[in-house]
């Protein structure tokens, strides 16, 4: 600073002279400086505005792409749901309709038997018409003391009585027979009722399915029309699925980590421990490969079971080949699980051996703590863990597929949000920079306020502000 002094011995005078010179210079350069400020404001604000506009347009197109993707996903989902319901209907109808002729025949048979029994109930031996009345009339004839007539009449009377008795017995027998037939009809009626109930249940199930199909079709229609409500619902559903699958995948990664640590040490017994790949010991890489192979086998198994659909080409394979691949995958998993189980046991032995070695080298011969080797629990626990973890890892395919399927929507949503936020910030910065440059221009004028006032007094008018009309670039 002192180097700028005109008179180093008199700093105050030098500073005053410098100030006066700067005032003079700034006053003279006022118009071009104002133009420069305006241009700077326009450039900076314009750059921010262009950035904001670009961000907004990209954000809109990304959101549009996301909407299209969600609609496509929703459409595919609804179609698969409807197809699944139709498959259920088909299976159900095939099953129920297949049973229908049998049911119908059974019901026909039952009704025919019931009808026959009913008719049999109604059939009774007819009484000879007038015979009883004639016998009664003869029996009531007065006996005129003639022994022969009396005897005849008594005989007729006895005959009539025995006939009545016989008829009564026959009537009782017939009634008992009818009751027996009616008793026999009860199970048939019960069976008939059960068959009717079965048929009713099947019809209700079919009606339920049709109701579900109706609901799916309504949703499908809404998606096809691209209704906002449906898009929002689908987006929210995708987000939920993404979060859930992310959590499950996180747990699975934890399991993979445990699995990896379980087999990394004993793996050094199987592969050369000295070699390295990319700085990592081969045993570590081998353990990692085993874990990844389990995941891969799990993916193929899930694919063949129809739970996931990573590879569309595999869907086109015939059922026999799919069964072969499934058997290979499950067999591979079983083999890996057995290997891990044995490695877990080996690991325990190695740890015990290493501990014994350290104690021996350290000169510790007495066991200061209870001997953990006496308990087989750690070995069994590790072996069980080694066997189970591969199967759990195999399940990773399901959340992985969901994560990939819903990840696109999440990525696009986040991108659109981030772009919108950047756009808003750029717009704010544009406004801010414009007013900042304007403020700087005013500060410039404040600095040279004295020459400006002198100019105003000299000209007898208010000084013109050249930036007044160009304040808003």
């Amino acid at each position: 600073m002192e180097s700028l002094y005109l008179w180093p011995a008199r700093p105050a005078a030098s500073l005053l002279a410098l100030w006066l010179l700067s005032q003079l210079f700034c006053w003279a350069a006022r118009a071009p400086v104002h133009r420069a400020f305006r241009a700077l404001g326009r450039v900076v604000a314009g750059a921010f505005r262009i950035t904001a506009r670009w961000c907004k347009s990209v954000s809109v197109s990304v959101a549009k792409r996301d909407r299209e993707m969600v609609l496509e996903m929703g459409k595919g989902d609804a179609e698969s749901k409807v197809a699944r319901e139709f498959r259920r209907v088909e299976v159900s109808f095939a099953k129920e309709l297949g049973r229908y002729p049998e049911l119908h025949r059974k019901m026909d048979d039952l009704t025919a038997r019931i009808d026959a029994d009913y008719k049999e109930c109604g059939a009774a031996a007819p009484t000879p018409p007038g015979w009883a009345e004639a016998t009664a009339a003869v029996a009531k004839m007065p006996a005129n003391g003639d022994n022969v007539v009396r005897k005849v009449l008594e005989e007729i009377h006895n005959t009539a009585k025995s006939g009545e008795k016989k008829a009564l017995q026959e009537y009782r027998d017939a009634t008992a027979k009818r009751h027996k037939i009616l008793n026999g009809m009860a199970p048939m009626l019960k069976e008939l009722k059960e068959n009717a109930a079965d048929a009713g249940k099947s019809v209700s199930a079919a009606l339920e399915t049709t109701k579900r199909i109706d609901q799916h079709m309504t949703a499908y229609e809404q998606i096809r029309k691209g209704e906002d409500k449906a898009v929002r619902a689908m987006g929210w559903q995708s987000t939920q699925l993404f979060v859930a699958s992310l959590l499950v995948l996180g747990v699975a990664i934890g399991g993979a980590f445990v699995n990896f640590n379980l087999i990394a040490l004993p793996m050094s017994e199987l592969v050369p421990a000295g070699s390295r790949i990319g700085g990592m010991p081969v045993s570590t890489v081998a353990a990692l490969v085993v874990v990844l192979m389990e995941v891969a086998a799990g993916i193929f198994a899930m694919e063949m079971l129809g739970i996931t659909s990573f590879f569309p080409k595999l869907d086109l394979l015939p059922a026999s080949r799919r069964r072969i691949i499934l058997a290979v995958s499950v067999g591979g998993l079983l083999l890996l699980a057995c290997i891990e189980c044995s490695l877990a046991v080996l690991r325990e032995q190695l740890v015990e051996s290493a501990t014994a070695l350290k104690q021996s080298l350290a000169g510790v011969h007495e066991k200061a703590v209870a001997d953990p080797a006496a308990s087989r629990i750690p070995v069994v626990g590790q072996a069980v863990l080694g066997f189970i973890l591969p199967w759990i890892l195999a399940m990773v395919a399901v959340p992985l597929e969901t994560l990939i399927a819903t990840g696109g929507h999440i990525f696009l949503t986040l991108t659109a949000g981030a772009l919108a936020l950047i756009g808003t910030i750029a717009r704010l910065l544009g406004h801010g920079s414009r007013y900042l440059v304007e403020g700087a221009r005013h500060l410039y004028d404040i600095y040279i306020v004295l020459p400006l006032q002198i100019e105003r007094l000299a000209s007898g008018a208010r000084p013109t502000i050249p930036a007044a009309k160009g304040a808003r670039p």
Binding site: G279, P281, A354, L361
Partner: protein, 215 residues
């Protein structure tokens, strides 16, 4: 298909690292003068500080420093650990027993040929071809060559090696004049560095050895 498999093999080979990650350690144990009394302690440091740190594939040699150390007979023992950890553990146990026998032997040399032992150690280290080469010297670092013995180090004698002077015992003269002790160590450091050593460090505590050896 054949081309594809060849490409896969080539890729796999390119992935595998040509760098040798094995470690070779040579412990030089001084049995001359007053340092001879330190032998059991030194063997303990080897057993507890060096041996457990060795990984499958690593090597360890123990060389005795006496009147004329540049002899094969001065090699008290050596192992290269098997790649299987279980076998490596068995080798370590056997070596520890060998070291116990070495500690039990009564030996006291009249002269101290440190450079001869270092030259022998350097040859053993080079022969292993290990990526990490460490020389641990258990001595008072006061060389006293017998008459007529000459030791001239090659310019690249310790190329790529780390030299750790461990448990350096201070002599009576050092107590009287510590500067002499410091100058002696500085001279060794200068000598080691000028002959290609990657590092020369003084280790006072046995626990520090853990950090200095590669895991």
């Amino acid at each position: 298909m054949k081309r594809l498999s060849l490409l896969a093999v080539a890729l796999l080979l390119s992935c595998s690292n040509s760098k040798n990650y094995a470690q070779a350690v040579v412990a030089l144990v001084d049995v001359s003068g007053t340092y001879a009394d330190q032998k059991p302690e030194v063997v303990n440091v080897i057993k507890r500080g060096i041996l457990p740190k060795l990984q499958p594939g690593d090597s360890l040699f123990v060389i005795r420093i006496d009147d004329e150390s540049y002899k094969k007979a001065n090699v008290e023992g050596g192992i290269t650990l098997d790649v299987r950890p279980s076998r490596a553990n068995a080798q370590k146990l056997a070596f520890a027993t060998q070291m116990d026998q070495f500690a039990a032997k009564r030996q006291r040399a009249r002269h101290t040929d440190i450079r001869g032992a270092m030259m022998l150690a350097s040859e053993y280290l080079k022969e292993t071809g290990a990526g990490q080469r460490v020389m641990v010297v258990f001595s008072d670092m006061e060389e006293d060559l017998p008459k007529g013995v000459k030791r001239t180090l090659a310019p690249d004698e310790f190329a790529g090696m780390r030299i750790l002077a461990m448990n350096v015992k201070k002599l009576n003269a050092d107590n009287a004049n510590p500067t002499a002790y410091r100058q002696r160590l500085a001279s060794w450091q200068q000598q080691a560095k000028s002959h290609g050593a990657k590092e020369f460090a003084i280790v006072l505590e046995a626990e520090k050895l853990d950090e200095l050896l590669e895991h």
